[in-house]
Point group: C2
């Protein structure tokens, strides 16, 4: 695991170096200043790492996958910039968001431009399956938009179920991980079976990752995840725990949840009430089970990959991601 972590550090440094050197234009100023601000913000670089490891997992050369790895990270950053406008989020990774530091218009335009920058990066891939790659990338772009739209619709909808929630996060979080893994696979010249295994691996990893993110809101200490605890409850976010609890709750508990989440702001007392319903419906346990379920599914997919060395790195990667101890 030690060697693997060094590999991750090395790959991530390479990704960061290339992202930093990508936007060299000066004009229009607000666009390129904001674009550099976004791409140089750091972050875990989960998606490009997945592309690189997926390429290696099917026997490909990591170098060949680097342009596409940058492309998936840039596309991810486009989603963050636009999501932050929609969620009215003021900070990300400890810094002001683009729409806060500049304004909504700049954020809309920088997001749009990043889509183009991402496609440009993707076109730098050297391989003979470019059309397939462009298609996977475009599928991912459309799916992530659908996922965010579902997420927005859910905020105005009392009728959200765990099943609908799973469809939403499969698109919002799963789609880009699926795409990142699949594109890495294609560049490594994966056959159909390998490609399908990689796609599923990415999807399950995304589901596990997102539900774990929901779970951390009631479990982790603030320092570890970089955001205050119970923030999802405070901000009224629909999470796996909330929807599971609502489905399992007795009528009087449902009323409590409804009342609390219908408010525009939630107090400490409200949070306590919600946590009591989570406790009595065993929502955290259910979320933990779901994470374990999707993690196991993801690992099953890996077993199908033939190249053992690479497959092993993907397994390390999944564990690192879900352990979040880095």
């Amino acid at each position: 695991m030690k060697i693997f972590e060094q590999t991750v550090e090395e790959y991530r440094a390479e990704i960061n170096r290339r992202l930093s050197g990508l936007l060299t234009k000066q004009q229009p100023e607000s666009m390129y200043d904001a674009g550099r601000y976004v791409l140089e913000a750091g972050g875990k670089r989960v998606r490009p790492l997945l592309t690189l490891f997926a390429c290696e997992a099917v026997g490909g050369n990591r170098e060949d996958a680097l342009p596409a790895a940058l492309a998936v990270e840039i596309l991810h950053n486009f989603t963050l910039v636009h999501d932050d406008i929609m969620d009215a989020s003021d900070s990300r990774r400890g810094r002001a968001t683009v729409h806060k530091k500049w304004n909504d218009n700049v954020a809309i335009l920088v997001g749009d431009a990043l889509v183009a920058v991402a496609y440009h990066a993707l076109l730098e891939s050297k391989n003979n399956r470019q059309e397939e790659i462009t298609r996977l990338f475009t599928d991912g772009l459309l799916e992530v938009c659908e996922g965010q739209t579902f997420d927005m619709e859910f905020e105005q909808n009392d009728d959200v179920t765990v099943d609908k929630y799973l469809l939403m996060i499969e698109k919002k979080t799963g789609a880009l991980l699926k795409m990142s893994a699949a594109i890495g696979g294609v560049i490594g010249n994966a056959d159909d079976a390998q490609l399908e295994a990689l796609r599923q691996f990415g999807t399950y990893l995304g589901l596990a990752f997102q539900i774990q993110d929901d779970l951390l809101d009631v479990e982790a200490d603030a320092a570890k995840i970089g955001k205050p605890m119970h923030n999802d409850i405070k901000t009224g976010k629909r999470t796996y725990l909330l929807l599971y609890a609502y489905e399992q709750a007795k009528e009087n508990q449902k009323d409590v949840l409804k009342k609390v989440f219908d408010r525009s702001v939630r107090s400490k007392k409200d949070i306590k009430k919600v946590l009591q319903v989570y406790e009595s419906t065993k929502a955290a346990e259910a979320a933990r089970d779901a994470v374990a379920h999707y993690t196991a599914k993801a690992e099953e997919c890996l077993a199908k990959l033939t190249e053992l060395d690479g497959g092993q790195n993907l397994q390390f990667f999944a564990r690192m991601l879900l352990g979040r101890d880095y």
Copy 2:
């Protein structure tokens, strides 16, 4: 010209029919409802027509260019949806804009999704120069974002010159016309010289078209262009006429323009004052000369195209577009 107009009607009907059948998904509802609303709004379909005629102009088959023609039109519609948010425009083509009928978030997401829908359409092109097409398309996407950013920056900037304005409209209007012509050319298997002629043709056409649009604000009757006269002055838009007038104006006239355009709203009296400065600086004549100049440049490019039949249709097309009598 009669036969040509029938051809245009036929091509446009085909484009509209295909656009109407494109989005069949139902969920997420707000995204696909709004997406259909946008694509079925009609409009002149200038860009896809240009793609089809450019393809034919180099001896290609129009059928081969249809998917790409849809793609350029969808991309254009993406820009309209996002621009309408930024400009806070409430209506377009006589109907409520997406952000007005739904909300800003839906408009951001539908715009984003339309980019993906456009790339999907582009990928349906059957030809052996797909990578080149994707690159041209992506160049166009980035340029149009840059153009809109310049336009936004200009609104907060007293330092805009005619030259800067020309760069802005070259990107904001010219880039998509250049791209539409070039992609049609590539699909028709244009050689380098033909392709360069088509690119330049599209660019010059875009410049002529935009400056004429500015000119129409002080000349046309409202019925003809579908918007009230002097609307650009009323809304404080930076146009060719304004920037030319400002450059040519005497100090006291500059003060008048500055004062009037610094206001948040402009009265009928203000409009009259601006028109007086336009009159005395001969701004309309200058705009008319610029339209003629870029139109002539565009026609020079056409002379370079070898296939006479197709080249002729492009010439008709340019005249129709700039005559706007259809």
